[in-house]
Amino acid sequence: MAGAAAAAALLLVLGVLLGTHWGSSRDVPAAGSVDAGFALDMQAHHRQAVEMSTLVLDRTDDEAVRTLARDIQLTQQQQTGQMYAWLEQWGLGQGRTEPVMAWMADAGEHAGHEMGMDMADVPEGRLGSVADMPGMATVEQMDALRGADGELAERVFLQLMATHHVAGVEMAEVAAERAEDPDVRHLAQAMAQGQEAEIAVLEDLLAERGGPVAEL
């Protein structure tokens, strides 16, 4: 009797799981998956890194900084294209049906607030804000980069990009661990490793140029 009840309960649970996780989706990641959230949010995160790199390239002749900026700019622009294409292939497009960073909401210490989310002055809507993603430079910080030149521009860039990369690595690590699609896990892992290595370079170059800008 207990066996029969347990078997019935098990069947019920299996049925629900099949219904929620299999029956509703195709064989590609669905809206609300870690894969889809990562592909959308990391694109926006990357696009700001590309923007910062583009800005510093126009503001310094320093070959070491320019080479690093070009590396980040070209790598992240290409990776953005990969993530864009995944979403198109999965039939999801680039629109939002889930809040920004929701795919990391239950990732424990990785979650946004523990990462020191930078609350912008934009009012919070139901779907959140890309400006509030961890590691994103604020409007004021981007303006500081736009308004700087030469070594000051290099320092602002190196400092903002180091912060940006630290958060980028945490996001990529969660996706590398939790995404269902092996291609997503693979690229996320590569991002985590690549950006981790770049953080050391960013910090070295920053130290050689007088360290962080206090008023930033």
């Binding site: 009797m1 207990a2 009840a5 347990a6 019935a8 309960a9 019920l12 649970v13 629900v16 219904g19 929620t20 509703s24 809206a31 609300g32 926006a44 696009r47 700001q48 590309v50 923007e51 583009t54 953005t80 294209g81 864009y84 497009g93 680039q94 629109g95 939002r96 049906t97 889930e98 809040p99 920004v100 912008a120 934009v122 009012p123 919070e124 809507g125 139901r126 779907l127 959140g128 804000s129 890309v130 400006a131 509030d132 409007v139």
Partner: protein
């Protein structure tokens, strides 16, 4: 010495058997009770968890469906020019939804002052949604529009003189005039047209231009 009394022995045996039987029945009842209650609790728990799962899933699905459903009132425009020009352009729509435009796109973001049509049209070509509002729109509604735009980095928000309605949402080749920023169609329009299928140049940037 034992007085062997066949009657009383038979009685005792029968009584013992009856006691054993009663004991057995009691145990069976208890076992049945324990099994029954346990099974009941398990089934109730499973039912509760199932209910929550199904409800949450249905709520999420309903929210998602609302964002993905076709948006009422969207006007579409075809045969839009795509040439670059440094001159000013006469656009048929207010604000423009496409056509010839400046070589430089206007950087996506939130602007308190009007932006330049010829640059903004180039941003539409790159997949931006341009949210325009009458300069007289109450600040609270402007905030609502900013909150609606915040989940995206491919939006332009700016005041616009002479709009046909207090709020107008535009993407390349599509437009939605609205009376109020709280209109429920704002979020679905953004979800469907920010870097949507109508974008002539998917993947092109909305930073690194002018502002």
């Amino acid at each position: 010495m034992a007085h062997s009394n066949p009657t009383s022995r038979a009685e005792r045996t029968a009584r013992a058997a009856e006691l054993r039987e009663r004991q057995r029945r009691r145990e069976r009842r208890q076992r049945a009770l324990v099994v029954g209650v346990t099974a009941g609790v398990v089934v109730a728990l499973v039912a509760a968890v199932t209910g929550v799962l199904v409800l949450t899933r249905e709520e999420r699905a309903a929210e998602r469906a609302a964002l993905e459903a076709p948006v009422d009132g969207v006007q579409t425009f075809e045969d839009l020019g795509r040439d670059h020009t440094t001159g000013s352009v006469e656009y048929a729509e207010t604000p423009p939804v496409g056509g010839d435009h400046s070589p430089a796109w206007w950087n996506c973001g939130v602007y308190a002052e009007p932006v330049v049509d010829e640059n903004a049209v180039h941003s539409l070509e790159h997949g931006a949604v341009w949210i325009t509002y009458d300069p007289a729109l109450p600040a609270e509604q402007v905030d609502q529009l900013a909150a609606a735009a915040a989940p995206y980095d491919y939006t332009l928000l700016s005041p616009y003189e002479g709009l046909p309605s207090p709020v107008v949402l535009s993407a390349w080749g599509v437009q939605l005039p609205l009376q109020d920023a709280a209109d429920e169609r704002v979020a679905p329009f953004l979800a469907q047209y920010v870097q949507g299928d109508q974008t002539p140049e998917p993947g092109a940037a909305c930073t690194g231009g002018v502002s």
